[in-house]
Amino acid sequence: MRIKFPLGRRDGPTDAWTKCPGCESQIFNKQLERNLRVCPTCGHHFRMSVGERIDLLVDRDSFEERDAGLTSGDPLGFHDQQAYADRLEASHIKTGLREAAVWGTARIEEHPVAIGLFDFRFMGGSMGSVVGEKVARCFEAAIGERIPAIIVSASGGARMQEGTLSLLQLAKTTAPLARMDVAGVPFISVLTDPTTGGVLASFASLGDVIVAEPGALIGFAGARVASGTVGEELPEGFQRSEFLLEHGFVDLVVPRAELRRTLGRLLRALPVAAAAGGAWPPTEERAWGPIGVLSDFAERLGGAVSETIGIDVQAEEENGGGPTPPASREAARPPRGGKAP
């Protein structure tokens, strides 16, 4: 009996070519996949599915999806030229996903994280009630389990078909971030092509560290809207990752091949704030932490901690080799010994 192997992971499409929108060159699909969906000629970063993102970023066999059973309702009974329910079904068939985002726990270079990932092919990665719920649960799990949170965004914005319920997801996904500040749990926001509208105008812009893939479209309004509104000529590279880096809204622009390693370095350099008796025990003279947080504590404790606000420039601890990324320079180690709520 002959042992038969399937020809490849996928039939058909792998043999096709894709035209690069960056340099117009024709890329063999298998080559594109091997190259992490980055154009070998010009470096254009093609979009990735949630599955490819997981393979790219997290340690093998470490991803455990949570809340897989969340699905959207149709609270407005929304119908344009198509019913909302039909658009959801079409996206499900196209992507195999139940919604535009997936979240779960995983490890990145051994560091446990709560990670959420968007897929632009599911209704433009738009955020309705379910996507907002998943993002919020991801953050809440990060707080509860004291592990960093990472969201990899790719979204056109808030989902129109759920009206203001989608708009309010901006607040629903942002509220947990204020709690993460108090709890001392870091949030790394990864922006990929495209991240616009309501997703950018909420949690995605509020990472403690914000990392973007090269050349990604990142903006509040669509570029066409922006130029159409004012009839102005747009600056070179407008709304691209590098533009945001230059203007101070992104920390690092990282090519896809280095993304996992960069996240690993950040996770090592920016750990969850040590609970009582952590690696760097606090003393009365030496405490680090965002002053806003301390003032919150101060209020609750009647000013008891106000004198512990201090700044200490301490030599960096073991860095695992390699230069310190800029973002970790001031790696805050708020040793909140016993004072955490």
């Binding site: 599915s49 490819e52 455990e64 149709d74 344009d80 092919r121």
Partner: protein, 325 residues
Amino acid sequence: MTAAPPTPRAVEEAWRRVQLARHPQRPRTMDLVSRIFDDFVELHGDRSYRDDPAIVGGPALLEGRPVMVIGHQKGTDTDSNIHRNFGSPHPEGFRKAQRLMRLAEKLGMPVVTLLDTAGAFPGPAAEERGQAEAIAASIKQMTALQVPIVAVIVGEGGSGGALAIGVGDEVLALENAVYSVISPEGCASILWRAPEKAPEAAAAMRMTAADQLELGVIDGIIPEPEGGAQHDPDATARALREALLAALGRVTRVEPEALLMTRYARLRGIGVVNEAEVEPLRPVDDGTLRQRIGRLLRVPGAPRRPRWSEVWPSGDESTDNEGGA
């Protein structure tokens, strides 16, 4: 509710409200503030870049008690509208709001916000200065602000630019105010590919005050004079003042900790989510002999270790933005 295109009557009703909310004679934030509060002291500037006239704010007295008032400000004629940028803030407007909210928090003053904007300004300068970050930071600040907040939609509640000062312990709306995730014109041009379908989009998004109450996005509706607020700004302001006093009476009675818990729960609960127990998908490694042998011997064409990209593979990139705003 079954999904069907909105009826002609629903379309007409929704569009009538949109036009009332945008009425050129509708009382603007400052028209209302001057009628409702005593001694409003307008403060200016975000302490970083400039003063944005599209957002006004400062302390005022309401029945002798200090409150922090913040609102969008549209103009009343061409000149003032150009000055106010038609009530569409730049990032510095939201940063001014943040600064005033911090002051309110420091002094323990309740915050009253009045929403009336078509949306945050989408121009290149706004992008350059971080429009999205400014909105996000404003929203985040409001979700955890340690003082009570009452937000009132008095005209147009246009998307993120409205929500940026619209998170509240109570959220109210004037009867002819509207609230939406995107302008009806924007929605129509994306989903119908025809901006002239704006009335249909307005109805489909259910953006009237009555709809918003039904959806649980707002807590109450403040009646307007017959025919709309523009017919009697004094009466409109009186009704709004009464509603504010009542709402502030309720929210200022709550202990700060309970207030923040309730606000968080309110935000967390927004939206409709179906939840079922399902077995999460995972890459299938059926572990069959042929797979193992294939990998071991590196037989060409043998399956590799299972990967998530097999569960959720990529496909063609030609996805329209069919939902995002």
